[in-house]
Symmetry: C2
Subunit: 239 residues, 2 copies
């Protein structure tokens, strides 16, 4: 479950690794100098390669941006789709997975995510529409799972599924602006914390599970109640 969120690849070949390092260098330059302000030579210099060698992988800056959009925006919607259709999963479990996957994706591609967000207007059609559709699909997968949880009683009645979906996705996406891969908080810890926050936003005041769990809980509840009575008796003046 956890490892899925990290999108493991089956052992990269030399070519994959080179392609990846080109995309990483391009992302950093697009952020620093803007998409318009970066040229192919800058990217070749940054990866210690030649312009010609670069063309083998990417015929233009635009194709790099397309590849980045596939890696982030389209990947995000594909990951979410793989969960939102699984109606056999309890809604809270499905939401847990959705958040874990999305946070994991952003935390492993923060610079790429910011490039894609920032440079969408430079993305040629039909890739631009594809990216917009993917973003809309991601939102809909979240809304669908959250609404299922509200209707089924796992999540609070009256919660707004749409604002919740936007807020949870926003909490994940914003990590691209602050997460420091070399910092003291590991990505896994951050992702788990975001999952926890996202679920707490929606779980009912007293979760159903607790209420339905029978005799043992009931005994605990009575004991707690008796403690309150006892405390009250002690503090009540002259009785």
């Amino acid at each position: 479950m956890t490892s899925k969120a990290k999108d493991p690849k089956p052992r990269p070949t030399r070519n994959d690794a080179q392609r990846q390092s080109i995309l990483e260098a391009a992302s950093r330059l697009f952020i620093e100098k803007g998409f318009g302000g970066t040229n192919i030579n800058d990217i070749a210099d940054a990866v210690g390669s030649t312009r010609t060698a670069l063309y083998y992988y990417f015929p233009s800056k635009e194709t790099m941006l397309e590849a980045l959009t596939e890696e982030v925006t389209e990947k995000a919607s594909a990951l979410a789709q793989s969960v939102s259709g699984r109606d056999e999963l309890p809604a809270d479990e499905a939401l847990r997975l959705l958040i874990r996957q999305h946070a994991g994706l952003i935390l492993s591609h923060p610079v790429q995510f910011r490039v894609v967000e920032r440079s969408e207007s430079s993305l040629p059609e039909p890739h631009r529409s594809a990216a917009q559709n993917a973003r809309r699909a991601l939102l809909n997968h979240f809304v669908r799972v959250i609404q299922r949880g509200i209707d089924g009683g796992q999540f609070r009645r009256g919660a707004n599924a749409r604002i919740a979906a936007f807020s949870i996705i926003g909490m994940c996406n914003w990590s691209a602006w602050w997460f420091d891969a070399g910092g003291e908080m590991p990505a896994d810890t951050v992702a788990d914390t975001i999952v926890d926050f996202g679920l707490r936003m929606l779980l009912p005041e007293s979760p159903r599970r607790a209420r339905a769990s029978g005799i043992e809980d009931a005994v605990g509840q009575m004991r707690e109640a008796l403690t309150v009575f006892e405390a009250q008796l002690k503090t009540s003046p002259k009785r």
Copy 2:
């Protein structure tokens, strides 16, 4: 309290209104064409003014960006500062205010916020450093209030104040990407919902208030427990 979050101005003069409409037109163009791709003539055309008239308000594109940064980034940190120092406020009340103000600011300046985020590398010094400091200060105000709540028991022990602050600020900031001022959800509803989500992320499982509220609650708890016993007795086979 609520009205404060909207940052009411004391009745704009004609000049303020013109200045504001220049900044709004500039923001939209910076988003569409990029900061580098927009020139003063485009902005003058968009507000139906002349280049010369524009110079009366802003001598350059950079000064517009400076003004936008003041309106959003520096304003955000000033608003937060006005709350985070008020130690007489219970931490949950202080956090409620912090989120309400920040969400209100972003929801009333979504395009401006995106411009500022996107164009920071075009911002001349010392404004660039000032913006970075303001963002850091905003974070610290949130962390301070959340940590006070954790230490004081209003918020869950073990919650990570820093990730919580980033997540709540992210949830607010991301609304700049999705909120539609002309849409069916009013900004106030969205802001209130975000406040509610932010607090739920941090409140303890059974809020202290409920636990401490005495006899009446204890009776309710015992009654609930008895219902569970009763149900169990009914379903237990052959007793």
